[in-house]
Amino acid sequence: MANDASTVFDLVILGGGSGGYAAALRAAQLGLDVALIEKNKLGGTCLHNGCIPTKALLHAGEIADQARESEQFGVKTSFEGIDIAAVHKYKDDVISGLYKGLQGLVASRKVTYIEGEGRLSSPTSVDVNGQRIEGRHVLLATGSVPRSLPGLVIDGNRIISSDHALVLDRVPQSAIILGGGVIGVEFASAWKSFGTDVTIVEGLPHLVPVEDENSSKLLERAFRKRGIKFNLGTFFQSAEYTETGVKVTLADGKTFEAEVLLVAIGRGPVSQGLGYEEQGVAMDRGYVLVDEFMRTNVPTISAVGDLVPTLQLAHVGFAEGILVAERLAGLKAVPIDYDGVPRVTYCQPEVASVGISEAKAKELYGADKVVTLKYNLAGNGRSKILKTSGEIKLVQVRDGAVVGVHMVGDRMGEQVGEAQLIYNWEALPAEVAQLIHAHPTQNEALGEAHLALAGKPLHSHD
């Protein structure tokens, strides 16, 4: 391929999703000359097929639920159904507003944005649109796509991935969701709010199995109350078409039928055929391997985001992208404490956490060194007003810092910022308890939990 561009960029970034564009913005801000190559749309999965559209569907679902239940609050409404075309318009308007904003930002920071499918062509270059883009450093940020299982073919119509679910032109009558992780339970929640009969199939013993077990149990209880069905602890075996939909058979022979099957068992890295192996980049099952500074084994190549085997979250991509930009600009880079990254699942009720689970804390510190406390939202005025229930569970190292905050309840995802400071700054329960929280907020529940853990419960029993 002819190298007809004379420029050598400081940084060439392959992939314009959360990880790639965050690196581009920060690097450009620090004075580096940056090229950002994206084959599809700036913003990547998160903006166009992930975080943002799912939350718009969930919010529409929340509004539908509130319309159904409004009489309980003295508001007379009648709920007449979902206008799915209008839901999509709302969702697409949110996306396009943010998309424009992001495009403006990239332009204003003087990042050279190149549209096209790129391929790593040397340790210091990417080929795209028949051109070689040279860089002193290359950042791989090609992200991830939905995975399936052997023999389970995603047809985009009856057997679908989240990509299809987000643009489905109807509310399915019934749906089986394969996988009770974050993406699975979020769709379960939104669809149920829209009126779909939902069944989740999860092979592990719990929904949101990476959360503290208490959160899983609370979510399961809440989903049961909402009429969201789930089958736990048995793995998927096969799927076949029926006359009107799909039939799923589990390893124990149990079967489920529904109009659609959403496969939400995880996402795999986008790394095939992009020249990574050829340039000697060390990989494992498709993931690019990196150290704590996001460096691959090739000195001129870094990688971030869903492409590397860290938490698959947009803000992890942001943090990793920023870290790379700052390192390349000569600033001191601080490795990310992944336990300290906040995690929110936006189903109804929301599940949020930061730090480690009770089980992991016991493993790390010994069972006798771990103290836990649960604060029930039943005692929290604001939660009562919202008619939500749930809990905050704190995990503490005896006489030491709070090392885990695990929350379940409507809107509790918004509490994770305070929890994030508590965990990352290694605050003692008494230090939080000293600061009386605002009444009557849901936030107050976090304060009450720390009051109780510090041995001075206010609105809770000793």
Binding site: V334, W425, E431
Partner: protein
Amino acid sequence: PPHTGDRPLAKPPVRKLAKDLGIDLATVVPTGPGGVVTREDIRAAAAPPAPLPPVTERAAAPAPAAPA
């Protein structure tokens, strides 16, 4: 004197700073109100030690008391 209670006398982000810089809070002389260790105290403790005073002055200083 080094703080002896179980509660480190610094606000959480300052304690975090000390930890990141590898400084033992107990060895830092607090100058904040109420004996609180400040960020400046940590930075002072982290800074390379000030140049030694001239030898003559040091010789003139009283010898430390012998341990009992």
